[in-house]
Symmetry: C2
Subunit: 223 residues, 2 copies
Amino acid sequence: MLDFNEIKAGDGSLTSRVYAVLERDILDGVYPDGTSLTESRISSELNVSRTPVREALFRLEQEGLVSIVHNKGAVVRGVSSDDIRDIYTLRMQIEGLASRWAAERGTPEQLQKMREILELERFYAQKGDVQQSRNLDSVFHAALYEASGSSPLRRTLSAYHSYIGRARERSFGHGDRPLVSVSEHERILDAVCAHDGDLAEALTREHIKNALESFLAAMEAIS
Amino acid sequence: MLDFNEIKAGDGSLTSRVYAVLERDILDGVYPDGTSLTESRISSELNVSRTPVREALFRLEQEGLVSIVHNKGAVVRGVSSDDIRDIYTLRMQIEGLASRWAAERGTPEQLQKMREILELERFYAQKGDVQQSRNLDSVFHAALYEASGSSPLRRTLSAYHSYIGRARERSFGHGDRPLVSVSEHERILDAVCAHDGDLAEALTREHIKNALESFLAAMEAIS
DNA sequence: TGGGATTGGATTGTATACAATCATACAATT
DNA sequence: AATTGTATGATTGTATACAATCCAATCCCA
C-alpha cells in the first residue's frame, strides 16, 4: 500500500500513479465496499497533494469503482460476483462482435501481431507460467479489440477487462485453463485469418462462456 | 456558448456545469474534431478557474469525447458516423440483454414506472411533440436499464446514450419515427411484463435495428 | 544553406490557500 | 423527552501560485 514509488503507470503523471495504486487496492480488497476515501488521508499517505488524488478519484468513478457525491466525497463500490457474471455475459455478446469485425476489417499487420502474441502465449502456457500466461491472455484480447477497428467496442471491452481483472486472476489458475485458453485463442485466430466472421464469433462466444464457467468453478472452490 | 449560467447540470458543481457545456459544444460541432482545448482559454471564457475545467476534461476523456495526452492537453475526438453505426450494432447485442434481464429480474415497481413513462411517451408522440418524444424515449430506455438490475449494463448503455445523443436527435424526427418507436416500446414492455425474456430480447434487437436504419436514412437525407 | 542547440512563451502538472458545505454534538426551547 | 437551532470540526470545491514540460522561432556555427 505504501510502495507508491514502485508503481509507474502509463504516462508517469502523479494522477496516473495514484489511480493505479487506488485501483489495485480497491480490487485487492484493501478498501472494502463502502469505505469512504477521504482525499487528505490518501494524499498524506502517498505524499502527494490533493489535486492528483481528486483527479484519480474522478477516473475511478468513471471506471465504476467508486461513486462520488457532491460535497460528500468518494466511497468504494466493490465488484460483486453478480457484476462479474453480468460482465461475462455482456462479453459473450460483444466480444463475439470484436472477432467478427476483426475477421472483416482487420489489417494483415494486426492479424500478424495477434499471431505473434499467440505463439508467446502458447510458449508460456506449456511452460506452466501462469503469471505470464494471464498477461498474454490480456494482451491477446487487447490486440483483438484493436483489430476490430471499432473504438467504441475497444473502449467498452477494455473497461470491462480492468474491472474484472482480479476475478480473472483468481480463475485463470483454476484447472488447466491456460492451455485450454490458448487452444481456444488459436481456433479463434484461425477463423479470423480465414475471414470467417460467423465462425470467429461463435468460437469467441464459446470461449467467453468457458471463461465464465471457469470463474464460477473458482468461486465454488473458494466457498 | 457563453450561456454558462443557464446550464444547471446534475449536482450544481462548477465541474458538472463546465462538463455539460463542453459536452454540448463538442456534440454540436462548435469544437470540431481535432480542436485542442486549452484549459486557460476555456476557464476564462466560462469565468471559472482551471481546476473545474481540468476535472471536466477528465470526465470527457472517460466519455471518449476528448483524448488527453500527458503534458500536451486535450483534443476533441469527434463522433464519426462509423462510431455511431458500431454503437447501434453493439446496442443490438446488449440492449436485448437489458430487456431479457428486465423480464427476468425487474421488480413490479420498475415495470410500473416503465408503463407510466410509456403512456406519457405515447401522449406526446400522438401530439406530434418531437422534442418531448425524444426525451421520453431516453427516459424509457434509462428505466429499462434500471429494471435490468445490472449496473455494468446500465453504465455501458448510458455511456452510449450520451455519446450518440446528437445522432439520435437528428434521426428521431425523420419520418414518423416517434410513433413507430412508441409502438415498439409498447410491445417490448408487454413482453417484459409477461416475463417472456426471449421475445423481449428479439423485439428489442429489432427496435434498435430500426433505429439504426432510421439513423442511416437521416444521414442519407443530409448528403 | 542547413542542421542542431537555445531560449522564450505558452501550456500543463502539482501544491497550497481559501471558501463553501456537511456532519456531529450539544444546548435551548417547547 | 423530543425537536429545533447553533456552533465547531472535518471534508470537499474552487482559485491561484509555482514548477515542469513542450513547442516553435531564432541564433549560431560549420
